[in-house]
């Protein structure tokens, strides 16, 4: 892993891009990393394009400016790609992970990204509907992200998430199992 890994999440207001960034920061923290998670605050409307960011490092993070050149971009809503330049600032060796039922090759063509960039796809919307019962792509995207980048130990992350969900949803064991299953399926089903 790079000394400082920067991540940009693209979603729509209400889809949980900020929550995904916060969840990821929490998971990375549990594995002993230094973390930052912050959203970009524009007009807060349901459905409007929003971004959120993570920094993760094994050393304290002093930087408090915005993320301009993310190493990884995660797109929670594929319809965003029509109006938002999701690859903006992505370096030549960057990676992009898209929630879609299309193949990575289709996405690569659609976004016109060079061969040096890595493209991953996973149908996180379908996975969340089948496991959690609602369309919440942000949770499974965590699993896809970890598979694609290898920045966290998957088993460790699953155990930590289980522990946190158990605290939060004591009376709803089905929520816990659904979320864990969603992360696990996305981890296994993400394509490159």
């Amino acid at each position: 892993m790079k000394e400082l890994l920067e991540i940009r999440w693209h979603g729509r207001g209400g889809q949980g891009a900020k929550t995904a960034a916060l969840l990821f920061a929490d998971a990375a923290l549990a594995s002993g990393k230094y973390v930052q998670a912050f959203p970009e605050y524009g007009p807060e409307r349901m459905g409007a394009p929003v971004t959120a960011f993570n920094r993760i490092s094994s050393k304290p993070i002093l930087l408090h400016s915005g993320v301009l050149n993310p190493d990884v971009v995660i797109v929670l809503d594929p319809t965003l790609m029509e109006g938002v330049d999701v690859t903006e600032g992505l370096p030549q060796d960057g990676a992009i992970i898209v929630n879609t039922n299309k193949t990575p090759a289709d996405i690569r063509k659609e976004l016109k990204v060079p061969g040096s960039m890595k493209v991953y796809s996973v149908d996180a919307s379908l996975i969340s509907k089948e496991t959690i019962g609602r369309e919440i792509p942000n949770t499974p995207m965590l699993g896809a992200f970890i598979k694609a980048t290898g920045v966290l130990d998957f088993k460790e992350m699953i155990e930590d998430t289980r522990h946190k969900l158990e605290k939060k949803f004591k009376s709803k064991p089905e929520v816990i199992e659904g979320n864990l299953k969603a992360i696990e399926r996305a981890y296994n089903e993400v394509k490159s």
């Binding site: 930052q36 998670a37 912050f38 002093l62 408090h64 400016s65």
Partner: protein, 392 residues
């Protein structure tokens, strides 16, 4: 450090956590972006019975500070949180609190002032009340926000001077970071019980608070308040030294980063200081001797410490995240220049007004400031005021 004490928290959550551990008698507050969460989370602690605090949901910030003044004068430990227009509306009562020497602690999330209306970070709000007789402590990150809040209550009660602790709006208030917190019992014993010398509910020693003070005594009382601010620096250092013992984290009136052998230095407060440290590391890797001076305490202004720290620097840039609209430099730059004048230090001091209304401040912009400073050493653009990144 036990794993359970290492948390991922936003600046607002960190400040609310400190307030929970302090467990004040009264919190009176009115919501305002981006500070709302602090008192919202705290109200949750009250509802869940985690604190013994009387929470007063007032109808305005003026009332929030008024209620804190009443609670504090009565003998209670009082705290609040606000931002921007909220602090502006409190301004009248801020002067009352400091004049009455009431040790209230206020968490302010720095946000631009209207107009035009804007919810994002700059330091205009607390700069507006820099003459209000409140100690002002700036936080670079969520960790410092937590640490400063815990220290603030002890500083306020020892100095009998109210304290504002700030964070940068959204950048820190809503940014989640790794922080280390202390155990509840450690904070409890560090802040100790509040034992006011004189208070309204002490029926063995009846006092009057807020009496009319005419030309015969007003001046003496203001002089005492000024002296309390002047001597607060030593109290802040004492509290920091005690805090270092329980936390391992050391604080002073200011922080120096790679400053001692530097040719050029930036003076910056708040979250930008962190970004400047990264710029310094980048430039040092290229062999450039650059450093940072971060005033942590803006009130009382650490005048002699600042001029001492800058005495061997060849050129200085002050980054002001507000404009005094006074036809001259921003507030921090003016005071740094005054500090240097007193030590007869005549060197280029450039002022950079930046980040108003949340305008992004990038790493390369800070690196460019250092380039300007090396030019200034050669005699170019001395005493210049630059509006960084503005379109004009």
């Amino acid at each position: 450090m036990a794993k359970s004490n290492i948390l991922a928290r936003t600046g607002n959550e960190a400040m609310a956590e400190a307030m929970r551990q302090i467990n004040p008698d009264v919190v009176a507050a009115y919501p305002i972006t981006p500070a709302t969460e602090i008192v919202q989370i705290f109200a949750g602690y009250v509802a869940d019975g985690l604190v013994d605090t009387e929470f007063v949901p007032v109808e305005s910030e003026h009332s929030a500070m008024s209620a804190c003044i009443g609670a504090s004068a009565a003998g209670g430990r009082a705290m609040t949180g606000t931002s921007s227009q909220g602090l502006a509306l409190m301004a009248e009562m801020l002067y009352v609190a400091s004049g009455l020497r009431l040790p209230i602690v206020l968490a302010d999330v720095n946000r631009a002032l209207s107009s035009p209306i804007n919810i994002h970070c700059d330091h205009s709000d607390t700069m507006m009340v820099k003459e209000a007789g409140w100690i002002q402590i700036f936080s670079e990150n969520a960790q410092e926000a937590y640490d400063n809040m815990v220290q603030a209550i002890k500083i306020a009660e020892t100095a009998k001077v109210p304290v504002i602790v700030t964070t940068d709006g959204f950048i820190i208030s809503h940014g989640m970071e790794r922080i280390e917190i202390l155990d509840d019992s450690v904070v409890k014993s560090f802040v100790g019980p509040y034992k006011p010398e004189n208070y309204l509910l002490n029926f063995d020693k009846i006092i009057t608070v807020g009496a009319l003070d005419l030309p015969d005594y007003y001046f003496e009382h203001r002089r005492q308040a000024a002296e309390a601010m002047r001597t607060a620096g030593a109290i802040i250092m004492d509290v920091a030294s005690g805090y270092q013992k329980i936390s391992g984290r050391s604080y002073g009136l200011l922080e120096k980063y790679k400053l001692d052998d530097a040719d050029c230095a930036i003076v910056a407060m708040g979250s930008t200081a962190g970004t400047a440290k990264v710029a310094i590391d980048n430039l040092r890797a290229k062999g450039l001797k650059v450093g940072l001076l971060k005033p942590r305490v803006f009130r009382p202004f650490p005048k002699s410490e600042i001029s001492d720290a800058l005495k061997n620097i060849k050129a200085i840039a002050v980054m002001d995240r507000s404009d005094s609209m006074n036809g001259q430099e921003g507030p921090v730059c003016l005071e740094v220049k005054a500090a240097l004048y007193d030590k007869s230090l005549n060197k280029p001091v450039l002022d950079y007004i930046y980040g108003l209304g949340g305008r992004e401040i990038r790493l390369d912009e800070i690196e460019n400031i250092y380039n300007d400073l090396f030019e200034a050493i050669k005699g170019k653009s001395k005493d210049k005021i630059t509006y960084l990144g503005v379109r004009e």
